[in-house]
Amino acid sequence: MMLFKLSVKNVTKSMKDYAIYFFTLILGTSIFYVFNAIESQTVLLDVTSSTMDIIKLMTNILSGVSVFVSFILGFLIIYASRFLIKRRNKEFGIYMTLGMGKRKISIILFMETLIIGVISMFVGIVIGIVLSQLMSVFVSNMFEADMTKFEFVFSGSACIKTLIYFGIMYLLVMIFNTYNISRCKLIDLLYANKKSETVRLKNPVICTALFIISSCVLGYAYYIVTDDSIGAKDLDYIFKPIILGVVSTFLIFWSLSGLLLRMFQGSKKYYYKGLNSFTLRQISSKINTTVISMTVICLALFVTICVLSASLCIKNSMTENLETSAPADLELEFCMNLSDEDNSNTKGQKYTVKEILNELDFDIDSYMEEYIEINTYCSENLTLGDTLGSKFDEIKNKYTYLGYDDEEKIIKLSDYNRLAGIYGKEKFTLNENEYIIIADFDSMIEIRNRVLMEKQAINVFGHNLIPKYTECKDGFIEMSANHLNTGIIVVPDDVIDENFIYANYLIGNYKAKDKDARIKTEEEIINTLESNNKINNYKGFEGTTKLMIAQASIGLGALVTFIGLYLGIVFLISSAAILALKELSESSDNKERFNMLRRIGADEKMINKALFNQIAIFFLFPLLLAIIHSFFGIKFCNIVLEFFGNKGLFSSIIMTAVFLVIIYGGYFLLTYFCSRNIIKER
């Protein structure tokens, strides 16, 4: 019982030192709860069944991510508790000189962890419950569901899950603490803070050389990832710049720690002004020992910034794309030229969609207000490689992984113009020896434009055609959430050889106009078709609708946003907390130093300023490099995620910045005020 009293007193006494630890634990717990409680909030939403499926998928993924997150938080908590124990070495030393066994000290620590764990879990979950009410507004907004009534949601399962996950984490911390205590020697505990670290000064020449080399390597890595051909390259290719980036980040911090001081020492006027020399020495002495954690923090921040802005950006473009990329209600397709394995029994079947529907006894006309039927064609004599013509070798060198042997899709001009009518797109006219390429996938447009500029002639079913325009025209046949059309060749009707038919489409709009009626129509169509057994005879038959695309993209957008937010915030908290704890754990050393400064006459204003500068630089250093990294990282994301579009990139960066300022800035201020408290006289 005495031990319990001691633990309680220790916790309350060192509340000030534990503030950041507590803050982090509570934040971690509440975020964990909020993201795991999303499931129970979505249950109440009024959404279609297909949206519900996406939500299920999302909650599954989120709970998977939660495992990963719990690993990160677990590491963070162990790391943090190690710091706190270090601070109290002397206290434990005194216990031991008084004859307290290591087992009892472990019990004290165990109870302290328990007390802290219980309190922080409780507070965290309470805050989490409050936050998740805000979250439910966000969630319903995300899925474009009507928030007809506000309902207080408490997720029992999320609560239990949080308790279990964090319980395990605290258990690990306890085991870790016990292990740590059992290992240490009394003399080290008592004289822990007497050991002053040796300040190793690095050779400035080596530092300069390393700095320059690592900057160049980093520049090279930046170049690799932002080279616009990277999107078409193999996935393994990305590992090289990542490894280069990590290594050079480490080396930059390593060399900078030696260089920075020299640089400022060069300017004697600045260096010997006020407490500047002291501040700079403080920083450089710490950077010496914390290069690795600086690197980790910088990279974590980098990941945070990229994940947050990319996910917000994807979400933005997802919802923005819809109007333009899915302009018709229904699109049915029968692909007659599937590869051999896919349709061995239907090979050579040439049906139109309409014929199939008739075969299924399905009367499409009763549902549709208007529709068109069009064909596409292709031939092995006209592949992407052929279309590229004289530019083929040059382009293949740069974009190794494009499908150069893929057959190009061809469409009759009259078919395309009817399609354009339904889609509300521009209609074209062609002379008998001309062609147009329709595309909306940006990087392919760029490639094709280079060829079109050269007025490259192509041979379509024995006819020589030249491009009408020197650039691709915007458009597509198949509706999708994103711009995925890599190119369709529009040719005059006479050119087409009907033997090379590839696919038949039926595209049109429902009679029903308002949302509910359209949902009803769609469900009827889908149910009738799916319940008909004969549909299995037609392997190449598929379809999509505006509503399906809308729901899929809303769902995907929400999925990406939630995972991005979740991971981003956890990474951000972790890196900020590590920095903050590092700063605070050294404040006991600093306390003596600052007292010394006071004795030789530095006033509080000077001391606070020195402290502020010191902490600010420590927080800014990794952030600065992370921002530079992210600049190129986001560029890279843009290239890779091009088919998602990059609408609203600017606003998503602003959002990311807001998160960064609030969380990272919050930690910075908290650290500053806590440190100021610690170094205060008495």
Binding site: L275, N276, F278, Q282, M596, G601
Partner: protein, 255 residues
């Protein structure tokens, strides 16, 4: 002689009404310019409290302390820091050097806090290093120096601002006898050649024998006052030992 430090009936109490400890019980004395005064006393005699009061690290309960004619018991806030910065120099038992800074930077810091310009800083540091014989350790860090060197660096930092009064708290406490002797000889040099006024607290008779005057304190009161006059250091040392013996068992272990 100009009066640098004037202490008038100061008292310092700790605790509350029911349990009062008089750490300083009505002490008065003066220190003239250019004097080297040692304050001797056993542990708990109140000598460190006295020094803390003079250095404004602690406040007196009653009485007045004048440094250069100003009553420092009336100073507050930043004026206190200004006073400490400009009028006092400190030397501590555990050196109190910043371990992250080199000797040069440690010394220069005292001036840069006062916003002295770089050129003057450099000149002054070099000059004081010469005076204290530490030119060859200027580029070193505290952990690379011996105790004696550290204490001389600390002394250099104390005197570089040209303070009215140098306060030394057990300056030889952490030094071996050879280093202690060397340091005290430097103190004498500073005192005689640079006319520095030094007030030193010690419980060591040997250390005290380097001073020009020794004030003995027991239980918060002045017990005795010895002037060196024209005595040699050895003779003065013997006189101090006599007083220490007279002080009783408290200081018997002080040799």
């Amino acid at each position: 002689m100009e009066n640098i430090l004037k202490i008038e009936n100061i008292e310092k109490y700790y605790g509350n009404k029911s349990n009062l400890t008089k750490a300083i019980n009505n002490i008065s004395f003066d220190v003239d310019k250019g004097e080297f005064v040692a304050i001797m006393g056993a542990s708990g005699s109140g000598k460190t409290t006295l020094l803390n009061c003079i250095s404004t690290l602690d406040k007196v309960t009653s009485g007045h302390i004048y440094v250069g004619g100003n009553d420092i018991t009336k100073l507050k806030g930043n004026n206190l820091n200004k006073f400490r910065r400009e009028e006092l120099g400190f030397i501590f038992q555990d050196f109190n050097l910043l371990d992250t800074l080199t000797a040069y930077e440690n010394i220069a810091l005292a001036l840069s806090i006062q916003n002295e310009n770089v050129k003057t800083i450099d000149e002054k540091v070099k000059k004081v290093a010469e005076d204290l014989n530490i030119e060859d350790v200027l580029k070193k860090y505290p952990y690379q120096m011996s105790g004696g060197q550290k204490q001389r660096v600390s002394s250099a930092r104390a005197i570089i601002t040209n303070p009215k009064l140098i306060l030394a708290d057990e300056p030889t406490g952490a030094l071996d006898s050879k280093s202690a002797k060397m340091l005290l000889e430097r103190f004498n040099y500073l005192n005689e050649w640079l006319k520095a006024t030094i007030l030193m607290v010690t419980h060591d008779a040997f250390t005290a024998s380097y001073a020009s005057r020794v004030i003995f304190i027991k239980d918060g009161r002045i017990f005795n006052n010895l002037n060196r006059g024209l005595d040699t250091r050895k003779e003065f040392f013997d006189k101090i030992i006599d007083v220490v013996t007279m002080l009783g068992g408290d200081l018997n272990d002080a040799l």
